[in-house]
Symmetry: C2
Subunit: 594 residues, 2 copies
């Protein structure tokens, strides 16, 4: 098993030279993010990830979780690691200081979360739930609920869950059946079955706060009749101490392909008198609150893709440097580590190029979150919010899909050893397989992109983004050794425009055909965003703002990595555009019987 | 769990209208393959696959194999199923009638093996070993060895194995260390450790015949000093009865990502006095005998890709027809099965198009095997042999890689249920992951393609094949409703030629850069072969030889499937060509440190 090493140089370069951390740190409310503090945070996080969480990753996979007498037993080491994690203040790193968080900008918190996901995704899903839910409660809940629950969530003293899915209601939350009966005291009695509830039950924290989507008796049908309830595992007394156990329990654990260390619970609410719950915000607005969190939550899953990909890449790289096999294809020399074989090198470079492109996009997007929230210039804040809205399905969909390919190649580099579980590389492949599914499948992301983000505003924000991309292409084309990157990016942007034009022209009359190309369009936009970001990386590496901070060889490699990305991966753009324009109608017209 | 249904209509259509079975059945030695017999064989195989082998597939995954006191316990049902399989005459279906085989043409045996792989790949690896090894023994072994072992292998009475890999010798067999000491009686004493030996030990058959690669004491170093030995688990007495246990044993089983039902053994030979073995053919020519089998063996693994892909597709299709979720994106109607969602339909169509393209190529290639062996016209036989040699790395590499994408989409169609092991779809994804690795990784296939198959003859056979493809493109372009397929195919062929020209121009001076594009080139050739074959399918469906044999709707769907393949998948060709030409040099120049 390879040790994990936090990719601090890459993260620092991207933060400082590409994602605009120096500007963000000057925004009101972000002043704490000084270079020294950010460096210290990244350094400490890297140590904790490598030293505490990474060694537990294989343990969680092997030992899994068990349901015993209604209690969920998590893998050995989980509880102790979580205690340290919470005490280190990591849960609330990017959350409000008013409730015990550290209040660091999202662009600083994001690479830290990437490290946690690299080190141990199954573990990290627990504190990740706290962050998403804290946002929802902060935004929507009454002062009373905030007073009782919020700080304990931000500090990680209590765990949190999201109870959305039911057997008949997966992607389609309109089909939710869980009921909430109003009580005389203003509380509600919740009853129903929920499935796929991550960390729905465990003993890691003394209490768990469930957010549950359910229907009131008089609720309208469909998504407009869903309300959100806060349902604690243990009721909380007026003095903040824990009271009686609520009427809810875990009735089963899923046996899954991966993330074995994360208990995926089937939950039963209200087997007896109904679980006591409290309405969050207003009745029938539950889905709206969910969607407010969604940009954040989906962004987090995209970052999982980067994190798992980085871990798989590191392990494949280490193996390729050690494993001696075959002769040098050109010189014929024996005794070479396999990294010297051109195809192995191609796979490793592809992995690294993909990770850097994804990370550059995610950190840039994290900066937009910060700008949207903190920029005093209203126009700048609005633009950042538009970009966040447009690209969140891409960060989620493209980064999670790309992660699969990285994990796939990581196994391939290992040859036969990659198929043997003891090697550990297969775990990443298995763990990663859920991330294109949960928090909305890639198909859901792509429909969101086409429907809500592109068609609804007739492509306005995407056109704005394309203008920005084109500026980078022009800058590349005007820079001696980067000219071919600029030409390539311009070609890929043209492909994106061809697809966009076709989608806008056909979105009304032939929506089925357009949606049959939705996922290819998500891949297309992700690919071009990746090339755009790698173009920015190449420009930054050619003319870094802090030239003395970086090794010259490192900068040179970044330029070559961008070149490889453009010519090995960017070239996919015209093919994707051709598939969108050419195959949608045929696909849509096909009979359902196949 | 979905029942498996043998895709008999697709197989019959491809055999009769595309792969040339009617012509092959007229070749001397193939006359038994009458339409009635072939139909009966396919029908019976489909029943056996669906009824006996398919239900055991999940059992093998769940129960796995165990090593107990040196004995390997295979999953419940394995021994009984194998007994039926052997008694049915299925092991020797395509093997020589001189030794108990059925002697059917390879193009008839191939779809039958596809069904076995669909039904239960882990199980089928056992009889598959018999077929490969029978070929080697038939070709290279002494009459005495043939007399003792061959018929029992062809009928399946005894099992067989291939003992190639050692811990330091995976893809690189030059590094083999297992020793063979000559004895006075003409036999040898074998000692050494082998790993990754499929079915290296089991109780399913009363004896197991191991083919072992080892070195004689005076052998030259490297691949020219490897000999092949036949080493039985139990020695065989002069009367054919079983004698003493040989000095070999299974010392461990691998814990693998997939194919749990197939025991992957670490074998120790000669812990005591040395295992008694017999030289196959001549000393130091072991690797040569291995490579004679290789076209066959690699072809078989390519067919595994089709088989596993078909099973995953069937299961995803059945789920998509049953699962109700969400509203129709165009009409807004509720209660629709998810197959109506454009993205789900796109995934299912992509799977089906990929499977048909692979199957058309594999059956056409199987026909070339038959022509090479049986065609009285020497030129026709030679051409078929050239095509087999050229395309075997493509059938192996491209079909196995494409299978991964099918299994990936099959999980995606299932949404969250795809990640739950009980659903069964994840097994195919796990099982499939080995097939791009064993019998030579995709990288090995691609190097073989570029080095031995293209550069060595300056692209001659590939140019010949391209001329053939171009004929199909012209025919498509001249056929009213298929014109766009012809244009697309012509464009994709041009991309293939661009890549080929670049490879031939740079193969000497910049071999490293060329080999960095070897796998993309394999994908490119596979993609264009797929489009070529689907073009042939579209032509055949438009003007079938036996028009009355096929339902008109079925023929229409085949044309539309070919159209979808061209515009959704064929379009990848130019992107792959661009990556080969544009990225190889950058990849090759990159420092090893990455």
């Amino acid at each position: 098993m390879t040790d994990y090493n936090a990719p601090l140089t890459d993260i620092r370069f991207l933060l400082n030279e590409v994602a605009g951390l120096p500007e963000i740190a000057r925004l009101p409310g972000c002043e704490e993010a000084t270079p020294d503090l950010v460096d210290a945070v990244l350094e400490e996080a890297g140590k904790f990830a490598a030293g505490v969480l990474a060694p537990l990753n294989a343990v969680g996979d092997r030992e899994s979780c068990r349901l015993e007498d209604g209690k969920v037993v998590t893998p050995p080491g989980w509880t102790e690691a979580y205690k340290q994690f919470a005490e280190g203040g990591w849960v609330g790193l990017g959350l409000s200081p008013d409730y015990g968080g550290q209040g660091l900008p999202k662009c600083v918190a994001t690479p830290v979360w990437e490290m946690w996901f690299s080190a141990n995704t199954a573990f990290t899903m627990l504190p990740q739930l706290n962050t998403g839910e804290s946002e929802a409660i902060l935004l929507a809940a009454s002062d009373e609920l905030k007073a009782t629950y919020l700080e304990k969530l931000v500090t990680g003293e209590w765990g949190g869950t999201m109870n959305l899915t039911e057997p008949q209601a997966g992607s389609d939350l309109a089909a939710i059946r869980t009921r909430a009966e109003p009580q005389a005291d203003g509380s509600y009695r919740i009853s129903g079955q929920k499935i796929f509830i991550s960390y729905g039950e465990h003993e890691i924290t003394p209490n768990i706060r469930h957010l549950v989507l359910a229907r009131l008796p008089d609720a309208p049908p469909g998504v407009k009749g869903i309300s959100m309830f806060l349902v604690p595992k243990f009721l909380v007394n007026a003095d903040g101490s824990l009271g009686a156990k609520n009427d809810l329990r875990c009735v089963g654990l899923e046996h899954k392909l991966g993330i074995h260390g994360s208990p995926t619970c089937a939950m039963s609410f209200g087997d007896n008198d109904g679980a006591i719950g409290y309405l969050v915000g207003q009745a029938n607005r539950g889905l709206e609150y969910m969607f407010i969190m969604m940009n954040e939550a989906r962004f987090g899953v995209g970052v999982q893709g980067i994190g798992i990909g980085e871990r798989a890449y590191q392990q494949a790289l280490a193996f390729a440097k050690e494993r001696v096999q075959g002769r040098d294809a050109v010189s014929g020399a024996a005794g070479q580590p396999i990294i010297g074989h051109p195809d192995v090198k191609r796979m490793l470079l592809t992995m690294r190029a993909r990770i850097m492109a994804m990370r550059a996009l995610a950190l840039t997007a994290a900066g937009w979150f910060d700008l949207a929230r903190h920029a005093p210039d209203r126009a700048a804040a609005d633009k950042a919010r538009r970009y966040v809205d447009l690209l969140m399905p891409v960060v989620k969909g493209w980064c999670t899909e790309t992660c699969q390919q990285i994990c796939y190649d990581a196994i391939q580099v290992h040859g036969g050893m990659g198929f043997v579980e003891e090697t550990g590389i297969a775990q990443h492949y298995r763990d990663a397989r859920i991330i294109t599914i949960y928090e909305g499948t890639t198909g859901i992301q792509a429909n969101d992109l086409i429907g809500r983000k592109v068609l609804r505003e007739n492509g306005a924000t995407l056109r704005e983004l394309i203008t920005e991309m084109r500026g980078v292409a022009a800058e590349l084309s005007a820079t001696g050794n980067l000219r071919s990157l600029g030409q390539r990016l311009e070609e890929d942007i043209l492909a994106l425009e061809r697809a966009l034009d076709w989608i806008l022209a056909n979105g009304r009359e032939r929506l089925g055909a357009v949606l049959a190309g939705a996922v290819p369009f998500l891949h297309l936009l992700g690919t071009v965003c990746g090339s755009w970001q790698m173009g920015r990386v190449a420009l930054a590496a050619t003319r870094p703002a802090r030239a003395d901070a970086w090794d010259a060889g490192y900068l040179r490699d970044l330029v070559e990595l961008a070149r490889f990305h453009a010519h090995a991966l960017g070239v996919q753009a015209p093919a994707l555009a051709a598939a969108i324009v050419g195959a949608g109608e045929t696909a849509n017209a096909f009979a359902l019987e196949l």
